[in-house]
């Protein structure tokens, strides 16, 4: 039998429906691929026995004609999603042994539709990072390497394990989360497709919180159609998340391949940032041409507050993080370091349990919310956020259907290259992705070409609120024109 891990979700679903192979055979192929890929450090917990049990149950449902839409599809899940009875850590020592007695809404919908859990995927600690280097389980290695080089590169972050696992074919697709670019930046670094839907499209219930007004679940997959298929399962209203939208979930797969003729695509001039590499600039131009060739109209637009999105993001996100992460105090779960009194217990527990980047972010968040600074920082940032959203609203009111922009300022960089003294250097990774989290908008990263060193580069499409269908149609145009990008040298095996 040919290697079943080569298949997209869409092709695997077809093969299962035709009876060319069983869900158990498909899952076994992935379980073996996971075991052979330890060098990537993409999984922090593999669950092969559970996977094979779930696959057997899938085979029984297929035999009875009761197959769900993701029946027998083996997935990896970012360690931010609580999985019932399966250790969930957010890749932090402070909840290093946490075993949830409940299942997140998003993952429960994937299992409802027949998907199979291969294991939990590595990420930056509490999703705070853009390179997966802040994980308590150590960095993930990007399956891609520069042509002729054996240097290990980062897969991006924070959903670095998800992106690396999808690119390395050690899961069919993965669930991730995106607060400032954590799905789209790693997707761009690994030649995969990543979608962050509109805020409220997926329930946040059971997802470990980082910044609640920005966090959204999404998908990393090997094709646009695969991403559409998974999002259709993950999305939907949930009474347990008061910010989840009570709107019907469209048939996203039907939108893939829809005509984009006459769609107006905006190219925001403010995204041509100083020092943008000529490679990224030319990729952007090529992407615009691909959309034009498919009948879309491409026009220049202005989003004047773009440059303030990143600093405003770091205030809003860190303030919310300092509040959300107050719960890790060594009382209800996690590691406890004893102290003379309760205050010392808290302080020692949190000093020992959180990594350096998380401690730094909590402290900044605490500072900007503290008495005397709240108005100058937090309130100011929330006002700037209103202006950032207004920029997009103005563009959409002028008839723009979607915005085309680069996904990242560069291709993947080396492990250790950006973890120097200045944390801001890493924060700049999110310059193109963070604006739409601030505005609550959906965005999709789609691979569009290779760098001169042979690394994947991605473009990003930004849509109207709940305009995911339009994004899938446009992303498919780029996938059709640019092709798919697969790692050819499986050096880790």
């Amino acid at each position: 039998m040919s290697d079943l891990t080569r298949l997209t979700v869409t092709a695997a679903r077809e093969g299962l429906a035709q009876g060319h192979f069983s869900a158990s055979e498909l899952t076994r192929a992935y379980v073996e691929a996971v075991e052979a890929a330890g060098a990537l450090n993409a999984y922090v917990l593999a669950t092969p026995e559970k996977a094979l049990d779930m696959a057997r149950a899938s085979d029984e449902r297929i035999a009875k004609g009761e197959a769900g839409r993701l029946e027998g599809i083996p997935l990896g899940i970012k360690d931010m999603f609580a999985t019932n009875g399966v250790r969930t850590t957010a890749c932090s020592n402070i909840i290093g042994n946490f075993v949830p007695p409940y299942e997140s809404t998003v993952t429960s919908q994937l299992w409802r539709d027949g998907a199979v859990l291969l294991g939990k995927l590595n990420q930056d600690e509490f999703a705070m990072g853009s390179s997966n280097e802040s994980s308590a389980f150590g960095p993930v290695v990007n399956p891609w390497r520069r042509r002729g080089s054996t240097q290990n590169l980062v897969p991006g972050g924070s959903s670095g394990g998800s992106a690396a696992a999808v690119a390395a074919h050690i899961c069919a697709a993965a669930a991730g989360t995106d607060t400032g670019g954590s799905i789209r930046q790693p997707a761009a670094f690994t030649g995969t497709v990543g979608i962050k839907p509109t805020y409220g499209r997926c329930s946040r219930w059971g997802i470990i919180a980082y910044a609640s007004s920005l966090d959204q679940a999404g998908v990393i997959a090997r094709s646009v159609n695969d991403a559409a298929l998974l999002l259709g399962s993950m999305a939907g209203h949930d009474p347990k998340d008061s910010t989840s939208a009570n709107l019907a979930v469209p048939d996203y797969e039907a939108a893939v391949g829809a005509s984009v003729k006459g769609k107006r695509i905006g190219i925001p001039r403010e995204y041509r940032v100083e020092g943008m590499s000529s490679e990224i600039a030319s990729l952007w131009d090529k992407g615009a041409q691909m959309l034009r060739d498919a009948g879309a109209e491409v026009v220049e637009i202005s989003l004047p507050h773009t440059k303030y999105a990143l600093p405003a993001y770091y205030i809003v996100a860190l303030a919310e993080a300092s509040s959300n992460l107050a719960r890790y105090d060594g009382v209800r779960y996690g590691e406890r370091v004893p102290g003379r009194d309760i205050a010392e217990l808290y302080e020692k527990t949190r000093a020992a349990g959180f990594g350096a980047e998380v401690r730094r972010r909590i402290m900044i968040g605490t500072y900007v919310l503290s008495a005397g600074y709240y108005d100058a920082y937090y309130l100011k940032a929330q006002k700037v956020r209103t202006l950032i959203k207004r920029d997009f609203e103005t563009a959409f009111a002028d008839g723009i259907d979607a915005v085309l922009a680069p996904a990242t300022p560069s291709a993947a960089f080396g492990i250790g290259e950006k973890s120097g003294a200045d944390p801001v250097e890493m924060y700049l990774q999110d310059v193109f992705t963070v604006t739409l989290n601030m505005a609550g908008l959906p965005g999709i990263a789609v691979p569009a070409g290779l760098s001169s060193e042979g690394l994947p580069l991605g473009l990003q499409l930004i849509g109207r609120p709940f305009g995911e269908e339009g994004l899938f149609a446009l992303a498919q145009v780029i996938e059709d024109a640019a092709g798919r990008f697969d790692v050819t040298d499986k050096w880790w095996r």
Binding site: Y333, M363, V384
Partner: protein
Amino acid sequence: MSVDQATVRRVAHLARIAVTEDEVAHLQGELNAILAFVDELGEVDTTNVEPMTSVIPMQLPLRADVVNDGFYPDRVLANAPAAEDGFFAVPKVVE
């Protein structure tokens, strides 16, 4: 705005994170780098701009004020570092 070492210690205490003397100087530098970066927002005119409260317009849903979950203390306490008689256990808080 920039922070001095006393502020770093105060913020660490507010955040309930123990810091050693060695860490304070290091954190001061890192915090000031981030604060310098976000100071850029001062340039933006936000007169008469409402701060964002909800990124997608939505009404907060209401439900009946009734208990609809619970009654399984063992599951709630399963991950606790210390528990006794159906309660979380902590060092003595009130003398």
